[in-house]
Symmetry: C2
Subunit: 195 residues, 2 copies
Amino acid sequence: MTSERERTYHHGDLRRAILTAALDVIATEGPAALSLRDLARRAGVSHAAPAHHFKDRTGLLTAVAAEGYALFADALAGAPDLRERGVAYVRFAATHPAHFQVMFQPDLHRADDPDLLATRARATEALRAGVAGLPPVGRGEDDRLTGVAAWSLAHGFATLLLTGNLADALEGRDPEEAFRSLAALVFTPEEGRGR
Amino acid sequence: MTSERERTYHHGDLRRAILTAALDVIATEGPAALSLRDLARRAGVSHAAPAHHFKDRTGLLTAVAAEGYALFADALAGAPDLRERGVAYVRFAATHPAHFQVMFQPDLHRADDPDLLATRARATEALRAGVAGLPPVGRGEDDRLTGVAAWSLAHGFATLLLTGNLADALEGRDPEEAFRSLAALVFTPEEGRGR
DNA sequence: GCCGGAACTTGTCAATGCCTAGATACCGGG
DNA sequence: CCCGGTATCTAGGCATTGACAAGTTCCGGC
């Protein structure tokens, strides 16, 4: 369908086509391998066409990050408790590796972009809501640290997973499932987690 | 001293000069901003000189990663217990941000490089030694997961720190100190950590 | 003192990012 | 229906970069 309308001057949905191609490249070869001209070739348009939608190479990556945060917020929203939110965190990284990488590499995108700020705020909110669902430990200082701890745990696991550092430790086990039991080890769900 | 011998044909220690300049650029502007020609200019040599020492741009980054793993192994070796090893992990990331970034971005370097493999093995060993120092929990499966959990926690904290995501959560507190108390919250040191 | 190789230079080429000017298609008001 | 404005895309050009090839300078061992 999409390939039939090849001879039209307007692509129809070039922005999405470029984005999708970019995600493909980033996921398989990393963000460094990304080339605007290459993406243009893949989409069958001229080499300057992408610039109209994204201005820059950085602009494209900013759009990727913004889209990533939006999807991320949605992915986190569905989880019932803190642990499942962590699982969702890991699942998102595994399912959207390109988004995840760009989101957490500040030197790749423009951190002050309005769209990015908006979607990132949504994701941050979804994240914070998860921590708020914790059984209150009492002292407020600990609460904040607990939130950082949970975030660190999920983020570290996701990052190590994407960089291939957990391959032999997991031995082909399902990463999500591994994280679920791992989180159980650390944050004991029942029993007031001792402190 | 170094600047006096400017007019010699041979630089004297170009390899180190390039490496240091590269670390500077990566730390301030990210790995994407790295340019061999720019590094050559900074060192006052011709644009092709770096290639003789590192072959490639990828070769340079591989050297950075290898050096990083060596420094990393040393940094981890000094820590007495698991928690302090985590603190050392975070301290290393904060002290050597450029090394850390490149080490954990597989698309930037050549993962099969012999030097890199050697130093990385040393670091892995230092890391595993820390987990082995844990009070044995009994079941072997849990041990492995506990190791992954500790690694994830430290790595996630370090990564989030470097990407600026902990700035407001920490509010100017010393990151190392924050991680120390955070680790205390999660892995309760005395008392058989409940499970 | 000489000779082989390491360290560095100069020159070149293809590819890329970005800019500008121009062509083409779509869209709403008359 | 058509006509002007605008969004979309093309074409061309320029500076920079990474990689390669061939030459030059220097060092150390024999």
